[in-house]
Symmetry: C2
């Protein structure tokens, strides 16, 4: 039996467009002799549809789209489509109104809808908000082959592999008892660093443990903060990889189920990524490209400071949207160093993007004059530093508004964590490209990028030189908001900072544990307080592309007016942190 995996990139809520994509691929698959076509979780509406699911008319339209799609599909092809189904018992027996389902479409009709059993409700996932868990073991027979159906989280409960049980039930264990020939997993599983290999290892363990071939189908594409990496794959009964789709791109993969051997046959296997930097680069390029495309932007603007953060974001944006669609704006102040201009221009040159210079000195003087009487007798401080950043933010938004560009913000995760950024200033933007990328990773991405060269990254045949100017990588990071300022005046080295933040944020370690790992207690205490105090800034940040298992975004739900971790409580409405350390 020829089985096709459609690794699709849906737009959230675009029922007609997504149905058309499924129909197009189905026609091609039928023409190639395919018997069964698999699509990702919620392929009809895109994952995650979030509160669109609370609109009865959205659910009704999805149901109508599904029925129409069933009618339009080619004959002799079974298609599994991700959709929601109403829970008709909800108001009588108690429970959520919907199931997260997979519809089996064949012969012009919806043959059956299978319900997701394990509903992730942690991090960015809110499935218990919308869905009732399915109670039945899901499988169907096609040409004498018994096929088990699981949806994403349904296969994330292998307590042998994970070291703990996450849910009471284990759907693949149930399927194994029933003796199905093959288990499918239709997913929309967001990317995080290293998760690609983890998934293959986990499902390989389950394949061996439960003696079943497994076909894993993943959504691809960026949906707001979430990046879906694709990399669908298939494992045979021995848990060996027999096929793998591309990462970070749509793909169509055919796999063959040998009905006699009751197993999947070796097919094409896309290569793994060389390193985490390559993986992350691909993820961020996809995220910028998809956010722009799905929001109907073709061009983007960003501020170029000559620093490493804006440089990597400019490179990502160029790879995502094309050099002719990026405008870099240099906004020097009297405190800017010579190299901040020359480095930014060199970067613009390397990328081949348009740049323009808007000096802010006169506007700074204008604010000083307007506020002169009110601020009389006070000293230059955080307020004045923030004004500079906000003038730049205002200029960038003016350009974005005037020409219909998407403004990209350039702050990294380390800054966002400790609040070393200005709300309504450098935080401005429609998308925060690297707000989940720690500063030390920004450096390694730049080094990796330069090793690739322009040829491999941008297809520039004439010139395979460096992308990020060397001086951008080697100079000391600085916000340049007052004379001679460098980041390490206010913060520990990024190596130390990032290790503390990794322990605090990703690993939920206590101060005592972080100190026990060898960090200076005074610094640990300060960093913890800075992280807590910056919550009000993060709350107002643009969506940021998620690449770690704990990002500041939809999965980060912290109170602001809280007293935990802030011992000597003091929260300024806004500040860069230079006064704190």
């Amino acid at each position: 039996m020829k089985i096709a995996i459609a690794q699709l990139n849906p737009t959230i809520g675009d029922l007609a467009g997504n149905a058309q994509k499924i129909l197009d691929v189905a026609k091609y698959v039928a023409s190639q002799g395919g018997r069964l076509l698999l699509t990702p979780e919620l392929s009809l509406c895109g994952y995650p549809p979030r509160d669109l699911l609370l609109n009865p008319c959205f659910v009704e339209n999805m149901s109508l789209s599904l029925q129409q799609l069933a009618k339009d599909l080619p004959p002799n092809l079974a298609v599994l489509v991700g959709t929601v189904e109403r829970n008709l018992q909800a108001s009588i027996s108690g429970g959520k109104n919907l199931f997260n389902g997979i519809a089996w479409l064949e012969n012009g009709k919806v043959q059956r809808v299978f319900h997701k059993r394990l509903l992730p409700t942690y991090d960015v996932f809110d499935e218990r908000r919308y869905f009732e868990p399915g109670l039945e073991v899901n499988y169907f027979s096609l040409d004498g082959i018994d096929i088990g159906v699981t949806i994403c989280e349904d296969l994330w409960n292998d307590e042998e592999f994970l070291g703990k049980r996450c849910y009471a039930n284990n759907p693949i264990a149930d399927l194994s008892i029933l003796g199905v020939d093959l288990t499918l997993n239709l997913s929309a599983s967001p990317y995080t660093v290293g998760k690609l290999d983890f998934r293959e290892e986990m499902l390989s363990h389950s394949a061996v443990r439960f003696q079943q071939p497994i076909i894993y189908v993943n959504q691809v594409g960026g949906n707001d903060d979430l990046l879906f990496d694709g990399r669908s794959f298939a494992l045979n009964r021995q848990g060996e990889l027999i096929s793998r789709a591309k990462g970070f791109d749509t793909d169509l993969l055919f796999v063959e189920f040998d009905a006699e051997k009751r197993d999947l046959v070796l097919g094409s296997i896309a290569a793994k990524y060389e390193c985490e930097d390559e993986e992350i680069w691909q993820a961020l390029v996809l995220g910028v490209g998809d956010y722009a495309r799905k929001c109907k932007f073709s061009k983007a603007v960003l501020g170029l400071s000559g620093g490493i953060d804006s440089s990597i974001v400019a490179a990502i944006a160029t790879a995502a949207l094309g050099k002719e669609n990026i405008l870099g704006v240099l906004m020097p102040s009297p405190y800017s160093s010579e190299h901040s201009i020359s480095d930014a221009l060199a970067l613009g040159e390397n990328l081949g993007i348009e740049t323009t210079i808007l000096p802010i000195g006169e506007l700074m003087a204008g604010y000083d004059k307007t506020l002169g009487k009110l601020f009389a007798g006070t000293e230059f401080g955080i307020a004045e530093e923030n004004i500079q950043s906000r003038i730049r933010g205002n200029l960038l938004m003016a350009v974005a508004n005037k020409f219909g560009y998407l403004l990209l913000s350039t702050g990294n995760k380390s800054e966002m964590a400790v609040g070393y950024c200005t709300l309504y200033g450098d935080m401005n933007g429609g998308l925060a490209v690297i707000s989940d990328v720690p500063k030390s990773r920004v450096y390694s991405l730049c080094r990796w990028l330069n090793l690739q060269g322009k040829n491999r990254i941008f297809g520039n045949r004439e010139d395979n030189g460096e992308i990020i100017p060397q001086n951008v990588i080697t100079k000391a990071p600085s916000a340049e908001l007052k004379p001679g300022q460098i980041d390490e005046d206010s913060l520990p080295s990024y190596k130390v900072l990032d290790d503390i933040l990794q322990r605090l944020i990703n690993e939920h370690q206590s101060a005592a544990e972080i100190i026990a790992a060898g960090h200076n207690p005074v610094i640990v205490d300060r960093i913890i307080q800075m992280v807590a105090r910056a919550e009000f800034k993060r709350r107002q940040a643009p969506p940021g592309l998620k690449i770690t298992d704990r990002a500041f975004g939809t999965g980060w739900r912290m109170p602001i007016a809280s007293n935990w971790l802030i011992k000597n409580s003091y929260q300024s409405q806004d500040f860069t942190t230079s006064t704190l350390i």
Copy 2:
């Protein structure tokens, strides 16, 4: 038996401070002969603690605080304290790590911890994210009286009253079968308009239906966007109200359980509110006061435009923080009308707050000059309108940063819905005071406020005159971002707009349903598209005080890069909406 209800106002995460509050009230209650003291849901950490619960050291500290509190409490007093408890079976049987619990403290020890059974996971509630539902029917015996224990949502499943079953189990039905003498409900139930009466009616229905007296205890206070109204109450076996605590304030209420009659005895009953406007006013004043206090601000700043939104926010802030702690900033432009200055000054005079004037004309000219070359040949439009708003936003943040003030933003819900506001401009602030108050409600609040007069609202004995100047209420609303502009150039009348928005947002009606209710199809379509397109602005808005059952805040989880509802897809990065209608 003398039972005390402590209607407490905890600070989220302040374990030591919250424990001290419980201890203080316990000592007083013991001195008054109380036998049982009730505190709200999660009274030890405050509700909602949100992702603080993901920190193992936070949970550990809560456990230690609870044990210490048990030791410190006076003898012969049983105290029920809201806390979390670890689910020790989680990793073996599958499930969440914690229970949402009520600890019974007595004789220096934690006697037992009861687990919440029904876990709200909708709107602002994420309890399935953290908690495993309790499986046992919760009750204990004290001096021969059998007392059932339920936690908040546990009593929100009366399908007779609600018209549908929300959960499979009904804890009070189970308690009724066991024949307990009295049922307690320890809650942290956020305020929405009309919910105060709704709760009393619902629990009265349950009291009669299940033949049990009920004591309902609610948290009070503002925690970020959520406002807890208090108004704890008690019902006798006939469902009659026998006691009620104050609204929007801490309170301590004693109720008497007659052991012979097996029923509660009539006690003191705080008055209801006269009207919804009074209720909302109290809620917003509490919200501003608590947000400022819990974030350690004593003073606030806001822009005064002479319009009705900034006027009501100034009045709320004055009532919350005191007139000596409010600074109103007037920022006229060449497009400002005469009355925008005179009305704002009159308001400042009425409130007795400090005002200052910072004209923005020169800064506007400065931006025009800086952007002149880049914008050459383009026409005055949205970009230039937004620059004005952002200059004001920048000035207000400069003042907030310089003097450590909390900046209050003044946009109403109608504007936030359709995006008639400028991101990084008038949306700037630490707290959005009226972002869940529709424009038509802003008018009725102002009229109600003026009927009360300064005496009742601010205790101003010499002068009981109007608070909001009449001209502010009667003039046509305008953003004054270009000559002669009024809101109705871009929007339908607020009466029409607010009805459409109520149907669309709160009632989840489809376009067809809204049109069937009598609205112009062209306007309905435009409004729906404006609401969808403004999602990227709302995502970056400050926390806003929630007063309706569907607010733009933690309970509003919409995708941005979505194609639902936007047929002719187009999303500008930012705009006021004047070009759209």
